[in-house]
Symmetry: D2
Subunit: 262 residues, 4 copies
């Protein structure tokens, strides 16, 4: 499946503001980026680096006034998502080193507070994939998915208490529950073809059966057509944009995902 | 200053339990480890790795029954801690890449919720070292230091609400406040010579004037004699021991710090 | 300076062949990539990773038959190269950790064999930038630059003996000489605007005065308009393409660099 | 098997000399370090870091005069080395990213020059472990092992031409031959119990059957009792000590390996 994705941002800054951006598609095994564009206006050199999760990010000191970011990419992705009931739980002492950070509590995934709830949800599910499936189904039932409902990131504890949230909130609650039963889980931010309403999207992956599997508590069918931007423990690691200071207004954000070729 | 440190742990496990340990002194620039010992009983091979912060950690699957850990080290440390009023604030766009993770909110340091309080505390302090000094003093006044008062890690928001805490709690509140005004800050876990009562200790470092500086909200005088075990964003990264499952009892923990030579 | 670069490769494989490619412009501080395309024909998913130098590389198992690679990029680069006579030699104990690998001998830069020659060349030059300048001038005089003259990578010892070479050969001899007097040096592969004849190019950087400086022993004037693809210790690390096995013929390689905007 | 290893070095410096040391036992999966000591005289703070291979190294600026290094460790190692005829060749496109650097030519292992010889040696051996075994046997026959015979590192090409060498030379020739047929291989430096004559030792590992296997072209029987100090592509990466400048004399080097407990 060949997709063309676009994300355009229009900021207005009332003071010089440091920005950290994370908008490029992820370069790795699951997708191939044929073409990519990333421009800002006013044009300036941005400082680009890679974080410890393999995500590209850019730093820029945005001047006072209007500031436009245009990104687009043509990406080949898989049509189907692997679903493997029975994929086994990996014992902690056998996890690869680089997976361990995804086992620990993080800013928005307080897994140290969810052990009891998780054990209730999974009851007699087979350790591994089936437990993650149970958790995802439970969150889908228990937490109402309301796109656009939260202005700033809520933590899993807060989302659980509130009973509703955006895609990121549901994913982070799933992650906290998975980690609380020692299943590594990470947040994925990206694009989903045919998402309604269209926007950037967040879902999660869990590490069972010696690999990462995709789960999405906001979708009744786990469809393909996913362009990954970034991976992280939670939204503290993978923010599309992170501004410092209070002189920033996001006037407009426009996201498009088109099918080029199947 | 040459110190000999000892930390011995006695666990009892009622079920086979995966443990992640972080007990070796940190190997780096500020201290030199002349001698070191690390043994467990029953003897088993442990799997050792280094995390993305440079900390050594070990994984072991502890069998049912008593489990003893003995660690000791002879370490050369500096007598005095650098104090540099006026050390300047580093603009975000000039921070080294590896410092950026210490600017973001983390599990126990919800810096995204402390901007208003931090701005109140620092009022007209010079940007940089002096702001961190103000924050540390404020926490020392506002939060009562009660060794042994918290059984499990509290977050900065919880500690602020509760008004008291252990060394780690005070340090994490300082860290959250620093990050909320864009000063990178990290938790340090280690030993402090002459700490009363003797125990493992936690303090923090802030990045100003292009280097890390040491601060300790539990001590009225910033003394040397510090043996560093690990650095991290907060206690989620640097736990002396992290057990998975509920079959773990820590029967005893014994910490000693002796002066060998000055 | 805004440049558009193109590099197209046409291979023919008589057996299934593993390829490692390194063709994307480098993402970092010195240049900004507005647009980029990278496609292969027949279309296949490539496995992409980043090496320890920060270079992107791709792995693909090319099938028998014709194989086309098309890459292009629109890149903003600086017009001028910094030239700083007097930039000081950095003592080894003060070099950042990540610079140390560039001090050691490597496959094509046997710096352990060039100490005497280097000391002759630099005579009374000021330690640092001026020594690198002397070395570059000496290589430019002593080694004839013959584009297209070497089919496979020669080592610095071989190039010195032979007295002529391609851009990579001259750069690697400079690197070996620099390292032999404890100046870190690295190979750069990329595009140079107005290079005669047009081709991919190689030059080098030396670490003096606490930063990397650009040098190019094949050019009498050190001009800007350089698009960097990759950094490494030598050509063993930064090969545009590296095929395994003997069933590979490169039928054609076409490189273009156009000025879009100044 | 519990071993106690000691390595003591006595240098004399006629000028202030930068040293890079690599003398600590490696911390990882195959061995556990119960106790360790590392002191220098005159006592100075050393700067310690970890390289991209996971090896600890220290930098120090040694003053004029005598300089003593004392290291010792008590290490638990395995008695037996895994031997697995039939372990399969791993196709390049399936190699983990971190293994790839061990596939490329390096300073002392010019694998780009050994393809023909390697193909002659392995003839009809099963791809993988059995090929490495053939290469090791061939080197053991063809190259005479003469402890203490080479003062400075020779490359595989030089060793092949000369027909004899120290342990490092034989290992590096094996590595070059393995890489030339696309089998990743790396140099290991460490201690070997019962080595005759006692000294530091070097052997190599090859990556087949999805893991590293140990080989030693200097020993007719592949015995255990190996304490690993460092891994690298070749001796350019893993030098026990690397001095810069010419004001260094190694007066004495004393190595001991004792069996504490079996």
């Amino acid at each position: 499946m060949k997709l063309v994705v676009n994300c355009n941002l229009h900021f207005h800054f009332t003071e010089e503001t440091a920005l950290i951006l994370m908008l490029r598609p992820f370069r790795g095994i699951q997708q191939w980026i044929n073409r990519e564009a990333f421009t800002i206006n006013p044009a300036m050199l941005m400082l680009e680096s890679t974080d410890s999760f393999g995500n590209s990010y850019q730093r820029v000191l945005a001047p006072i006034g209007d500031f436009f970011i245009h990104t687009s990419a043509e990406v080949i992705v898989t049509d189907n998502i692997d679903i493997t009931p029975g994929a086994y739980f990996v014992e902690i002492q056998h996890l690869p080193n680089e997976i361990l950070p995804y086992l620990l509590p993080s800013r928005y995934c307080e897994s140290d507070r969810f052990g009891d709830l998780a054990r209730e949800i999974i009851v007699d599910a087979l350790p591994g994939y089936d437990q993650v499936r149970k958790i995802t189904d439970w969150v889908q039932d228990a937490i109402q998915y309301i796109p656009g409902s939260s202005e700033f990131p809520l933590s899993a504890v807060e989302v659980h208490h509130r009973g509703n949230g955006v895609c990121r909130d549901l994913a982070q609650l799933c992650i906290a529950l998975c980690r609380s039963i020692s299943i590594p889980a990470r947040l994925v931010v990206g694009y989903l073809y045919n998402l309604q309403p269209m926007d950037l999207h967040a879902w999660f992956e869990a590490y069972v059966g010696n690999r990462w599997y995709t789960f999405d508590p906001t979708q009744s069918v786990l469809s393909g057509g996913r362009v990954i931007i970034a991976f992280g423990r939670d939204a503290a690691d993978v923010s599309i944009f992170h501004q410092f200071g209070s002189g920033c207004v996001l006037n407009n954000m426009d996201v498009q995902v088109d099918l080029l070729d199947n």
